[in-house]
Symmetry: C2
């Protein structure tokens, strides 16, 4: 890594494309001056944005391509026309070739995962990569995974998620031996899906190093911060994440309505303005932007498609942290537990 963190950016991804990606890089660079950026995408659009930012420009290179994956493409479509040449593909390829330490995109999640799998391949023993999110809680932050990549999961996959999630919590939350819970629909051992019960048994009996397994947790435990790492398969995980986002937005709307309805409330709002500002910051989804793809031979981070520059910068910050703290090496070590079944044939070529 030579002291520098080299970040490959898909400049064409997301709802706003280069405008947000370049502006976000500028914000992140101010916080992490040892960053270097590779911008993949349309040079005609990126170059003028860099020219107005000399500090950023000095640590950036543009790699031109005219092909960009669209938000609405299916993964198979995106692979068909975007392989070898799209900005998304080329950003991932830079990681594979060792030209970058991490790749980021705010583009189409399915396409990004398909390309990352295809190009980087999964780690030994891992069939299916996962997406991990940092979730703000009453105690700080927790790692929640999988939030949308692997739909359905057997016990082995859930145990892998626990190991990978704990490695990520050690780095992003700075906790030596993070507490881990399996998301379930009841805390009694008897409830819930067979696979979840079986994963619970394995985690209890094997006592994996570097994590403290605490049993089942329920949906309301996520916001409480009951455990540092919440493990679930991607369908329920994605629904939990989106439901929490929806609930937060719903309450913000209620609050806005209530505080503007009467004169007295509006006066109260003025007095409490700084408190509301603080609340807004606590609830700011931009701060926890960035889903980390785990289980691949390389680090890829997905930013929310609708992120603004501040949000995209938060995803870059996250990329910086995981590279600096060598997430990939730690995950590889965490996965090489003795009881693991012999590595399976890992990449099935799902997309082609």
């Amino acid at each position: 890594m030579s002291g520098k963190v080299r970040i490959a950016l898909d400049a064409m991804g997301g709802d706003h494309g280069p405008a947000v990606v370049v502006a976000g890089a500028e914000v992140a660079l101010a916080r992490h001056p040892n960053s270097e950026f590779l911008f993949f995408g349309n040079a005609g659009l990126i170059s003028p944005l860099l020219q107005g930012r000399p500090v950023l420009q000095a640590v950036s290179r543009i790699l031109h391509t005219e092909v960009a994956v669209r938000m609405e493409d299916k993964p198979s479509q995106a692979l068909r026309y975007g392989r070898w040449k799209s900005s998304m593909w080329l950003a991932i390829e830079a990681v594979k070739k060792g030209e970058a330490d991490v790749a980021l995109s705010a583009g189409n999640t399915g396409a990004l995962m398909a390309m990352a799998k295809f190009e980087l391949k999964t780690l030994p023993g891992i069939d299916r990569p996962a997406i991990a999110a940092l979730w703000p809680t009453l105690r700080g932050e927790s790692v929640v995974l999988d939030v949308g990549a692997s739909i359905g999961a057997d016990a082995e996959h859930l145990v892998d998620l626990a190991a990978m999630g704990a490695a990520m919590a050690r780095i992003t939350l700075g906790i030596d031996r993070p507490s881990v819970g399996l998301l379930n629909i009841g805390v009694e051992e008897a409830k819930g899906l067979e696979q979840v019960r079986e994963a619970g048994r394995v985690l209890r009996e094997e006592q994996l190093p570097g994590l403290d397994y605490r049993g089942f947790v329920e949906g309301n435990d996520i916001g409480k911060g009951t455990v540092d790492v919440v493990v679930t398969e991607g369908f329920a995980g994605n629904i939990a994440l989106k439901t929490a986002e929806g609930t937060a937005r719903q309450i913000a709307e209620y609050l806005k309505g209530a505080m503007s309805r009467t004169l007295s409330a509006r006066i109260g709002y003025l007095f409490a303005r700084s408190a509301f500002q603080q609340l807004r910051e606590l609830m700011d989804p931009r701060k926890s932007n960035g889903g980390v793809f785990l289980g691949l031979n390389g680090i890829v981070i997905k930013s929310h498609g609708g992120a603004d520059a501040e949000g995209f910068a938060a995803a870059i910050d996250l990329g910086h942290d995981v590279v600096r703290d060598q997430l990939l090496g730690k995950i590889t070590a965490a996965l090489s537990r003795p009881s693991r079944p012999t590595p399976r044939q890992v990449f099935g070529g799902a997309a082609s």
Copy 2:
């Protein structure tokens, strides 16, 4: 029904037992004077509570039993010692015998579902009953089901849930042809679980009467109120429900902290007190208390175990509504669609 709505109450269920059940019945009776109550449980505890409430006492009967299902019992345990004689069982039995129109319990959900299935049996063609909840949204309320009874679901079950949920929305929300969405992790047709996709195909092609199928919805659509009925299997549904509860509590804590931190914020709070009161009411989980068991030959309602009298009364109100509007008849009609496979052997005797 003879103009009266006869309500069987498991007086021993929930964290607070008879104190909350009797007080809740009093609150509900004031709103629905045509109610009659059967209290099942320990007469020594229930009778003194009724004596202080002559209006309630006049429309109530106590049916004594000393057996009560405990909150921590597994369903199989509860069935073993609670069958034929527990307050929970007897309340359900009253519905079966036609002595009550609806049964309510704040007790152990798993035991209540097991006993309800055992005693009432499922409707023709339904293997697995579901639990439906009313979910407060930015547009009002939506019906969300299943929130925890049937873990995993094939396409046929999801279509049944859509039909039953729409029948419930017609009654509880007063909407003639409710809009229905399938909970999924992406709005594109290609994403998500195979069963969810297949159910989407069936709902699109069959055009069931009395519902307007709108396609897939995501977790954040629930709070928005994008559709009147959100359909999912019970694992994801329970996690969504609990995650939303947890997020609401988390934001309430943030708000409380922010509004008490500075003098200026505390003054602002005083001015805006009525606005905060309004917000608290909008967010009050007691108002949407009550999960309706659907798919059985009889109506059973589960109240939150921690509900207070106001919360338990809301569950009774819900029971009153669904009885008055003949939910059971409407569900039976909704399920008898022409394309349905021939009724299967319905009750497998899972618990014994």
